[in-house]
Structure formats: C-alpha cells, structure tokens
C-alpha cells in the first residue's frame, strides 16, 4: 500500500473545527494517539519497505534452487525451455522462475489464510457486532504481537480487524501481480516478495485466531487447557457420527451448539479431521479429533461417518465421490469448496434433510453455519439407521482374493509418494500373510494414488487400511487442546534464559502430514527435545501426530509434559492459524525481556530474533502452499525452518555456507565494529533427509551469536550428544561454534579440545559482540 510519503505528528492544533491533540497520521492511516509507544519506521509496510532487511538475510542465506520443471508454461509465449543459461521469451531465467513459483505458492498460502480470516471476522461481526472487544486472555498485555509489529496498530475490537484485513488483501494482490509476465525479473527481489507474503500471512493467521479465540471462548493463553481424545478409537461407531473436515470452524461450532441445544451431546458423535478438528475441540472437548489430513480416506471408507461436513482448505477434491461410496450425505459449508453441489442455503431445512436422508440428493451447499448445524445433526440422526455404517473397506476374506489379482507391475509403487513396496505386500497377502500390508499402514500418507495407478482396479489403499483394521480402530490417544497465545508472564520467566541460551531453544513442530515415514517420528522428536528441556510448541497436523504415539507407560507427549511455555513444556498452540503465537512468543521476548519497541518496528525485532532467540521451526510433513507461506513468515522474522525430504519440492532452500567466513560477520551494536560470530544459525530453510539428521540440525540451528558461554555450552552439549548418538562421533564443525574454552561442555572437555586442536582452532577468533545485522541500529539501543 502506498503510504508514509507523508507522516504527520501534531501535539496540539487549533482549527475552525476544534482542538486536535496528540494526532499522528500516516497517509491512509490514522494511528491511535493514546498509545505511548512511538510508531516505528515501517507501519503497514509495502513490498519495498523491508527489502533491505530481506537482502541482508539473502546475502547470508542464498537460494539453492532445485527446479521441479525445466520449462515455464505460464503464458502463451511458452512453453519456454529455461534449462541452464537459457531465458524464456519474456526474458526470465531459471533462478527467477523458481523464486517466482515460490512466490505464487506463498501468495496462495497467504491468500488462503487471509480469506479464512476475512470470512471468520465477517461472520463473527454478524453475530457479535463490530464493537465486540478483543480479550486475548489473562496475563496477555501484548495482544496480537505480530499485528502490532507489522502494522503498528493494536486492534481493540472485531471491527478493527477488518481494517487490518483491508491492508493484507491489498498486499497479497500486489504480490500476486508481481508474478505476471513482464513484471519482476530478479530472483532475489522475488525472494524478498516471498518474505513479504510470509509476513502478511502471519498477520492474517493471527487475526483469524484472535477472532475465533475471543468470540468462541476457546482457551485463552491457557497452559492448563483441557484434554480431549484423538484417534478413530475415540469415536463410538454405534452412534450417529458427523465428520467435519477443513479449517474454518463456524459450521462445526454450530453443529456443537445444535447438539447442546437439543441435548444430544453424547448421543451423536462430532469428530473432525485437520484443523477444524483442532478448533472444534478448543470450542468444546466433547468433540473428537480423528487425525491429520491424511486420515480422510481411511476414516470415510470405514463407513463410520454418517454425515460429512466440509468447510475450507485441505479437503480432498474427490470428497463427494468418497462420501457417495459410503452413502453419507455431504454438506459443503463454504463457497470456496462447493464440490458441484446445489446451493440450498435459502431452502427450508426440513426439505434439505428429506432430500439428503432419502438419497435424492448426495449433498448440499449450505452457506449458513447455523443451518448447517441443524441439517447436519438431524440428517445424521435419520440417516444413521438407514446407512447401517455402510463401508467400502473389503472384508478380511476379500483381501486375499484381491491380492491374488495383483500382477506386480509396480505401477502402485511408482505412483506412491513414498515408493512403498506394495507389490511385495500383495504377494504375501495373496498367500494369506497380511503382516506386510498392515506394516504399510503407518507409512501411508493416505493419498490414494496407488488405486488410480492400478491397471486392475485393486483397492490398494482400502486393503492397507483393512489389513490394519485392529490397529486403526484401537487408535485412541489424549491431546491437550490448543491453548492459544503465550502469556506475557511466561515470557518474563523464560525470556532471559532463552536469550542467554540457558534454555537451549524453542522448537516448533508444525505443518501438514506429508511425512517421509511414520507420523510417530514427530512424537519421537518432540519427546527427545522436551526431555532435553527445550520448549516445544505444536500446531495443526503436527500437533495431532505428536499425540498419536504412547510411551511405555501409555502416555502421549501431552500427558507426559506440562503445557507451560517453559523448559520441557509441550505447548499445543492450536490449529494452523495459531502459528503466529509461536512467532509472537519470539517477538514478545524482544519486547518484554529486552524492552525493544514493537510497534511497526519489524526490522529491529527480526534482527533481535535472528541474533538472540534460539528458535527453530520443523515442518516435517510440509505439503501445502500455506505451509510455504507460514515458513516464509518465519524466515523474514529470523527463525530457521527445517522441512522433511518432501520439502525439497518447494524448489529451493535458503542455505548458509559455514565454510565462508566472510558471510558470518555482524556489527557490534556498541561500537559498530564488524565481528565474526561463526555460522549461527547456519541455515534459514533446510530439508533434512532423515529424522536423525533433523534432530542434530535442530540442536545446531538453535545456536545464536548472543549465547552466553553457559548457554553455548548447554546448546553444544545437546548438539554434540545428538551427533554422537546418531553419527557415532563428534561433529566436524566444533571449531566454528566454540568461541572460548568456557563454551566447551565440562563433561566433554578433553575430546572437544582434542578435536579443536586438530582443526586449528584459536580461542577468541569467534567474537561475542552485541550482535546486529543492521548498521543503522549501531548505538541506537545504547542511546535509548
């Protein structure tokens, strides 16, 4: 948005209209005059406003491109071959094209969250009015830290959120326009725009969660948020079951309201998949979570759901086909995903229910959440006795017969994202041994591509699920529901030890369920780092996967560890749109602990975070465009993100080079001197190929230049210990991470010193300045 060409501050002005006091204006915006904190340099930033900060990051963390496609086919000049040095008809080269595609993905992701927020806010304003006050919860005084940081305003009512959404929608439109043929041509400028998309995405998500937390009464910054059940075994299949899928909670909340109004809670099951599941359990813990996005096919085909309600995002595009197979009516509750169904929003609910129950209509679009509540419940009650849990999973006896039809052509394996050895499992199953099919269940991401690839029409996915029938039906775990924001008081407690490095890091496990192996990898990583006293945050599908594994004592990580944002805590913040609470915690450390101004002061706070806050995101199963934009929001803020192997398909990583000393200098904020601080954090966006590699890298990416010797020693202890545990020897880069002998973990002193000596390490070569990457910030904080 064009603004700040004029910035006017008036202490007192007498006019013919009256007396004006304490007015501050940027073009297009009127800033609140009662807020003591001054407006920082970048309120409502446009595309170019944080470009220099982006370029600072990108000079250190350069893109490493891995094109998914050699050509560009976005306009009628093409297809254009961009291999090597070639340029397309428009002049674009391969590097810029890759960044352009990343920008497109991030625009889609950001637009999806912003649109989600817009729908929520409009709906809730309709219910509660524009003046409904924002209450983030107890001991949260810096509410909406991301919004404050980016825009410079602090929303106080639902209506205020609309104004911020106007800004976000403008930005995403500008960004999307940059992808058009004949616009941006420089890869680094594309990358800067990617960061911008990520930043506005964070604001959009924060607004969505802010609105739903305050209006629906979700837990408000509550470390003692209640538990609910997750897994197919959590649902009583003898009852009518309503399945909700998606991310936008109003229809699911209205289903719960209707159940309560009619005193049907306990008689009808409300269960969810993906983030709607997380959010409806924040609304009422009587609802159940089935599992992550990849549980759609397996749960639907089990025949247990009697009615399926979809809102928006992460819904299978073939949901209507799957619903029809089990004779379950489908209700589409969002205009974004109507699945070809007729719009029945204005129809009498009784007529809709009759049509759905009788099977005259396979489904209906109903864009009124309250009406969805009534229709879903009444339809489930009536259709359940008729359907009799009609399923499309084969019977046990059919498994062997179907397996015998397999000709081992390998087309299923060649279609499988994880190249699972399906033909081998079929061969064993044909002989009556189902163990290999069952073993595939944990590794299957539930996409169903195997079935479409099979030339003989063998229902491969259904067979895997059926072979694991007992395991599948017994899945029942406990998860703490999403707690929302982090309290300021929690930040006060942990701010210093995080910045000093004494709490070794904050690790966020987020994102989708496109795992390279079993989802239990998430639970194992969470357990490993919680045990090591890192602070663990979870959101979305990763929060669910973390819950779907029990230790020897039968406890999930949520039962085993506290929900407090403190060392050794496992903090489920909520759904995808709760991710900004994690970013917000990092921002609040800068504000509460270090007293940095937050308001519209993005660059300074991001500079603080990358140099001082040992935080790292892990999106082990990142799949979507939303995951891309969420990651981008963390990059600009200076938080490194690790993705799993499938994350390579995002086409480029942002990688540091620890072997290039010149890349790792910062300014000493006291003196302005340039000081070498070693490669910390080494990468900004990085794909690990194995769980072990990921864990070692998490420990490493939590190191920061500001670590005290005690803090660095603690971080090195974990890094070295994990490295030795998995790789059987010391890391080969200790000479780049140990600054003085005092940094060396006491229990490892001899072996580390020996390794340092071999590497030619010199004490003091790596400095410990008051680090900043931004020259203009030299001396500023000391003057303040």
């Amino acid at each position: 948005m064009s603004k700040r060409e004029l910035h006017l501050k008036i202490d007192e002005l007498k006019t013919s209209l009256g007396l004006v006091k304490g007015l501050e204006i940027s073009i297009g915006r009127i800033f609140e005059e009662t807020w003591e904190e001054p407006v920082g340099p970048t309120p409502f930033p446009g595309i170019a406003d944080l470009r220099e900060w982006d370029r600072t990051l990108l000079r250190r963390y350069k893109p490493f491109y891995m094109p998914f496609c050699d050509v560009c086919c976005l306009c009628t000049f093409g297809k254009c071959d961009l291999t090597g040095d070639k340029r397309g008809a428009c002049g674009i080269d391969m590097a810029a094209q890759q960044s352009r595609i990343v920008l497109l993905a991030c625009c889609i992701g950001a637009a999806t969250h912003i649109s989600h927020a817009r729908h929520l806010v409009e709906h809730l304003i309709g219910e509660y009015g524009r003046n409904y006050p924002i209450d983030w919860g107890p001991e949260v005084f810096i509410e909406a830290p991301v919004t404050r940081l980016v825009t410079g305003v602090r929303p106080k009512t639902l209506g205020d959120l609309e104004d911020i959404l106007d800004y976000l929608e403008t930005e995403v439109t500008h960004l999307l326009s940059c992808c058009h043929t004949g616009q941006e041509g420089d890869n680094i400028d594309f990358e800067s725009k990617v960061f911008h998309a990520g930043m506005i995405d964070q604001v959009g998500m924060e607004i969505a969660d802010l609105a739903q937390v305050m209006c629906y009464g979700f837990p408000k910054a509550d470390p003692e948020a209640p538990f609910t059940e997750i897994g197919l075994g959590a649902v009583d299949p003898t009852k009518p079951v309503i399945l909700v899928i998606g991310h936008n909670v109003p229809p699911a909340a209205d289903i719960m309201d209707y159940l309560m109004e009619k005193k049907l809670v306990g008689q009808v099951e409300l269960a969810g998949i993906c983030c709607t599941a997380i959010d409806v359990t924040r609304y009422n813990t009587a609802a159940k979570i089935i599992g992550p996005i990849s549980w759609q096919l397996r749960f639907i085909r089990s025949g247990i759901p009697d009615v399926i309600v979809v809102d928006e995002q992460c819904i299978r595009a073939d949901i209507l086909n799957e619903a029809m197979k089990i004779r379950a009516p489908l209700i589409a509750a969002s205009e974004k995903a109507m699945h070809g169904l007729p719009d029945r929003t204005e129809d009498d609910p009784r007529e809709i229910i009759d049509d759905l129950v009788s099977g005259r209509a396979p489904g209906a679009v109903i864009l009124n959440p309250r009406k969805v509540g009534e229709v879903a419940v009444e339809t489930a009650l009536k259709v359940a006795p008729l359907r009799k849990k009609f399923k499309v999973l084969p019977d046990a006896s059919e498994l062997v017969e179907q397996a015998k039809r397999c000709r081992k052509c390998m087309e299923c394996t060649r279609a499988c994202p994880n190249t699972l050895p399906i033909p081998e499992a079929m061969e064993a199953a044909a002989k009556g041994d189902l163990s290999k099919l069952e073993a595939l269940y944990d590794l299957c991401i539930g996409c169903g591509r195997c079935e479409h690839a099979c030339p003989r029409g063998i229902p491969v996915h259904s067979m895997i699920v059926k072979a694991a029938d007992r395991k599948f039906r017994e899945e029942k775990y406990r998860i703490r529901v999403g707690r929302g924001a982090i309290r300021d008081t929690e930040i006060r407690t942990v701010g210093r030890p995080i910045v000093m490095g004494e709490i070794p890091g904050v690790v966020a496990f987020v994102g989708c369920a496109n795992y390279p192996g079993a989802g239990r990898d998430i639970a194992e990583m969470v357990d490993e780092f919680a045990r090591r006293n890192y602070i663990i945050c979870t959101t979305g599908c990763a929060a669910m996967s973390a819950a779907m594994y029990k230790d020897e004592e039968g406890k999930t990580v949520y039962e085993k560890y506290s929900g407090i944002f403190d060392a050794g805590g496992v903090v489920n913040c909520g759904s995808c749109v709760s991710n900004p609470h994690i970013a917000g915690a990092a921002i609040k450390i800068a504000s509460i602990f270090a007293k940095r101004n937050l308001r519209a002061n993005y660059e300074e706070i991001a500079d603080y975070i990358i140099n001082r806050v040992g935080a790292c995101g892990v999106a082990w199963g990142a799949m979507s465009q939303k995951a891309a934009s969420i990651a981008a929001g963390f990059w600009r803020l200076g938080v490194p993100v690790i993705v799993g192997p499938h994350g390579l398909k995002y086409r480029r990583m942002l990688l540091g080079r620890k072997d290039r000393k010149e890349d790792w200098y910062v300014y000493d904020a006291r003196t302005g001197e340039k000081v070498y601080v070693g490669p910390v954090p080494e990468h900004l966006f990085y794909s690990a190929q194995t769980k072990e590699e990921c864990m070692v890298m998490i420990a490493k990416l939590c190191m920061r230049p500001s670590d005290t010797t005690k803090g660095r020693a603690i971080k090195l202890t974990h890094y070295i210990d994990l490295h030795k545990k998995f790789f059987g020897r010391l890391p080969d880069d200790l000479h780049l991470l140990v600054r003085t002998k005092a940094d060396i973990p006491v229990t490892m002193k001899d072996e580390v010193l020996e390794a340092l000596e071999k590497a030619g390490w010199k004490e003091g070569e790596i400095g410990t300045p008051d680090p900043t990457l931004v020259k203009r910030l030299v001396g500023v904080w000391y003057k303040r």
């Binding site: 050699d70 279609a415 390579l648 990085y686 194995t690 059987g728 020897r729």
Partner: protein, 179 residues
C-alpha cells in the same frame, strides 16, 4: 531398460540424462575425471549389493580408486570401521557446495568435476540433480541408483535388482576392486 522416470509423474525435460546401458560409460567417466566424488545417500546402508550394502560398496571403491566419499546419513561410523574417514554432510549442503565453482572440495583438494550419486530416496536425488543440472556447469553427474534419474548427466535405466547389482559389481571390478 526404459529411460523414463521411476516415479510416474516426475516428467523431465527437455534435457534428460543419457542412459548408461553398460557400466563401461561410468568407468570411462570416472577414469577421465580429474576430481570425482561419490555421494552416498540416506539409504546406502539399507540397499544390498552383493554380500554387503552400498556403504561397503562405496568403501571398496574408495580403497581401490581413492575416490572421495561423502556420507549423507548416519553410517559414517560404519565407513570409519571400514577404513574410510568420510565427511558427513547433509544432502542439501552437498548440493549447495557442488554448484559452487570455487568450492575447495569435500577433501580440500579443489572443485569436483564429477559427482556420482547412489543410495538415495528417488525424489530427493531427482531434485538435487536438477539443481546441479541447471546451476553447476562445471560438473558432470552420474546416478548409479537402480532407477533412471533424468536430471543426472548419465544414469542407469530402470533396472531389475539383480541387473543393477551386476552393473555395480562390473563397475567396481573395472575400477580394480578385488573379489
């Protein structure tokens, strides 16, 4: 022997790997290279070749030819026990080093002109090799994995397990690995 991507939807091109229908091509390329490197993938200690795994195979190549070996997963200790002190480096870092013409090499002896990849998850190698194809003009790449990798300079076609093992063993024999 088809020169088509193993994962069906991974449609490559226009520039695709030349197919090595015979391990002699790999042998010739290795012999011609000034500074080759063998990059072992995350599955190298799970993939069987002859009586051992690809890790054993890599160690034997190193001993016979002196080729630099880089490990991308946890079997570095096993390599060490086989007498090969290979660096461990994450795959993304390996790719990012190899695109750099000024890189001083995994062994400190200068930039590599040939990189051999084996033991990888199919799509991971697919993407890293794509990065190298487009951005590392100084480098030739060979995929020794069982399935065709279109972004390498040269690749085996899709092979049956026994044919693949035979190719690898023929290659090692040509390079002087004894029985």
């Amino acid at each position: 022997m088809a020169a088509e991507s193993w994962q069906r939807a991974e449609i490559p091109g226009p520039k695709k790997a030349l197919v090595m229908k015979d391990p002699k091509v790999a042998y010739a390329m290795i012999k011609r290279a000034k500074h080759p490197v063998l990059v072992l993938g995350e599955f190298a200690d799970e993939m069987k070749v002859g009586d051992g795994t690809l890790v054993d195979y890599g160690a034997s190549l190193h001993k016979a030819t002196g080729i630099t070996v880089v490990a991308t997963a946890t079997y570095v200790k096993k390599l060490s026990s086989l007498g090969v002190e290979a660096p461990w480096m994450p795959l993304t870092d390996v790719g990012n080093r190899l695109v750099d013409e000024s890189f001083e090499g995994f062994d400190g002896r200068g930039v590599h002109d040939l990189a051999l990849f084996v033991g990888f998850r199919y799509y991971s190698a697919w993407l890293i090799l794509s990065g190298l194809k487009h951005f590392a003009k100084h480098l030739k790449t060979i995929s020794l994995d069982r399935f065709y990798q279109p972004h390498a300079s040269w690749s085996f076609p899709n092979l049956r397990q026994e044919d693949w093992e035979r190719y690898l063993l023929e290659l090692s024999n040509m390079l002087g690995v004894s029985g």
